[in-house]
């Protein structure tokens, strides 16, 4: 142990190894800054001073000299929407990172287990038969969870433990099945009323988010996020081959089920309020690997921060670029794809 004590005294192993303090501060500060800035964006302009005044007065129950309509826009429209964006962005990014790790494959996104397709089908079906928001949301969550259970069952169809390959293939099967069902619903839906609603909804939007939505969805996504944070170091072990991971003396099936459950809750809840938001869960983990490295212990907290900021910025664009709301999936890919290509040019994919 002599050599180690020398090294330890020279560069304090654990500290030096940690990510730099500047990166850490950025990861904490950026979401806070973007959070406040976001209140100013939108077709209805509100000055930063007014935003601060309104938030301050509402937080402490004071009376301020601002227009009531400004207060209403900030407090009932933008506040829940901003929080929801951050929650969904953080959740989807972390799910993406966790599943990429668990499958040992950087091409995986939260959609891989069929949850998005299942939840999308549940929502589309609900829109077809009713217009109750509550029904749409609960059907989305139920079918999302159901789809993953189906995936897991198929992956064990041959008996014994489900390998990672079987899970991926089963996810492909489930997704294809539910996507076909979504197409079927679109095909039979009334092309003048229901079809546009379904199509627009599936492309993802935060436009209609209310405090009530947040109240239902936040605990579910929050639960998933906490679950993933708890498992963040264990994900390193899960990213190894089956035999390797088992030889580390851990129960990989139990650990996998925890991760899958957390990711499923997050994704299903996200789809239930804002439709299918693509790309966030695929790209943000890659960006975060460049910033903090591959170790999931650092990667997941980084995804929490960067994912929240990314989706919030995208949503700011979505509600202020043109006079109508642009669906989120269009922007996440339209902005995300070139940015990702730019990153690939500079990193050559070396970080993963």
């Amino acid at each position: 142990m002599k050599l180690f004590s020398q090294i330890a005294s020279q560069e304090s192993v654990q500290n030096k190894y940690r990510i730099s303090i500047i990166v850490k501060i950025m990861l904490v500060a950026l979401p806070i800054v973007v959070f406040f800035i976001s209140f100013c964006f939108g077709r209805y302009g509100i000055s930063p001073q007014n935003v601060i005044k309104i938030l301050w007065c509402n937080a402490f129950g004071l009376k301020g000299d601002y227009a009531p309509i400004d207060a209403s826009v900030v407090m009932t429209l933008r506040f829940p929407r901003i929080l929801m964006c951050m929650l969904v962005g953080a959740g989807l990014s972390m799910s993406g990172a966790a599943l990429q790790g668990m499958f040992g494959n950087p091409l995986v996104s939260p959609q891989i287990l069929g949850v998005s397709a299942g939840a999308g089908f549940g929502a589309a079906l609900a829109i077809l038969i009713s217009s109750s928001v509550f029904l749409i949301q609960s059907m989305a969550v139920l079918f999302g969870i159901g789809a993953v259970i189906l995936t897991y069952t198929i992956s064990r169809i041959k008996g014994g433990n489900s390998s990672v390959y079987m899970l991926v293939l089963a996810g492909v099967i489930t997704s294809a099945f539910f996507e076909a069902l979504i197409s079927t619903i679109k095909f039979v839906a009334d092309p003048f009323s229901k079809l546009p609603t379904i199509t627009y909804w599936l492309m993802g939007s935060m436009a209609s988010v209310t405090w009530d939505d947040l109240l239902i969805v936040a605990p579910i996504i929050g639960f998933g996020i906490v679950g993933l944070l708890i498992m963040r170091w264990r994900l390193n072990v899960l990213s190894l081959d089956d035999d390797e991971a088992r030889s580390m003396g851990i129960n990989i099936n139990k650990s996998r089920i925890i991760v899958i459950t957390a990711c499923t809750l997050i994704t299903a809840a996200a789809v239930s309020v804002c439709g299918i938001v693509g790309w966030v869960g695929l790209v943000i983990p890659h960006i975060c690997r460049i910033i903090v490295g591959s170790n999931h212990k650092n990667l997941l907290p980084a995804c929490l921060s960067v994912g929240a900021v990314y989706l919030l910025l995208i949503d700011n664009l979505a509600r202020s670029l043109v006079s109508t709301e642009i669906p989120l999936s269009i922007l996440t890919a339209l902005v995300g794809a070139p940015f990702f290509a730019y990153l690939l040019k500079h990193s050559g994919g070396q970080w993963s």
Binding site: I230, R234, G293
Partner: protein, 265 residues
């Protein structure tokens, strides 16, 4: 520790058994090498020993305790396993990779503590690559990566190391590097060790005992010098060889020169 395999029987199909009633054992501080041609189930045997696969019948006994379905996790408190390297999926740093070896000592939700870092660094020191600790695993050589995997197994503080062809895919120098480091670690730590290898010379160099597997479920087990003979190599591998003893620094190594295929194969 002492590991005994009693009447082990396994095959991927019932008609086509790989082993039938195989018996061998390894005592504390011993090195056992497993030799045999491709396809006789060397890797499978390691997986059976460690209960990654379940014996059809027979059992593995560790320090007098038979492994069963219920207790098969106890083995990972005592055994460090180094599988054939399967490529690097994520570019973890060397220290992060070695820390994974601490998993069996950590709770599901735990992250490594200062003590775990100490143990991981010590493992790196044991295999002589402590200077690489901050490098990423895709920035180091294949030989160094193999040493990282060995350090990861050592970080679990095992009493028995099991290695699956640790020197395959390595060049001449890196093979020596890995083997000599392995020998040093095992002898210094009074560890037991099971190694699969394709190189009879390496077995002669390292091993106390040897297990040779052949096609048709035949096997022989005994002292390395009794097992690794030109007659057995010819019988099990179908290659006629000449073995030349080489004296170096007080130990007897062996040069094994393949001459020609025998007609039996």
């Amino acid at each position: 520790m002492k590991l005994v395999v009693e009447n082990g029987k396994y095959g991927y199909t019932v008609e086509n058994l790989l082993y039938d009633d195989i018996c061998f054992s390894i005592n504390e501080g011993e090195i056992l090498t497993i030799l045999g041609p491709n396809g006789v189930g060397k890797t499978t045997l390691l997986r059976c020993i460690t209960s990654l696969l379940k014996w059809h019948s027979g059992q593995t006994i560790i320090d007098g305790i038979p492994l069963t379905n219920k207790n098969d996790n106890i083995i990972w408190k005592k055994v460090g396993y180094v599988p054939q390297s399967s490529g690097i999926k994520f570019a973890y740093t060397v220290i992060d990779m070695v820390l994974l070896g601490r998993s069996s000592h950590l709770k599901v939700y735990a992250t490594p503590s200062k003590k775990d870092y100490d143990i991981a660094m010590h493992a790196l020191e044991q295999v002589g690559i402590v200077h690489l600790w901050r490098k990423r695993c895709n920035e180091i050589s294949g030989g160094e990566y193999q040493l990282v995997l060995i350090a990861r197994a050592l970080a679990a503080q095992p009493q028995l190391l099991i290695l699956d062809e640790p020197e395959s895919h390595l060049d001449f120098r890196n093979q020596m590097l890995v083997l000599s480091m392995l020998e040093k670690v095992v002898r210094e730590g009074r560890l037991s060790c099971i190694i699969n290898t394709h190189y009879p010379e390496h077995a002669v160099r390292l091993a106390d005992t040897a297990l040779m597997l052949g096609h048709g479920r035949k096997y022989i087990f005994g002292l390395a010098k009794d097992i690794i003979t030109k007659q057995n190599l010819s019988d099990f591998f179908g290659v006629k060889v000449k073995m030349l003893p080489v004296e170096y620094k007080g130990r007897t190594l062996s040069a094994i020169v393949p001459l020609e295929l025998t007609n039996s194969k």
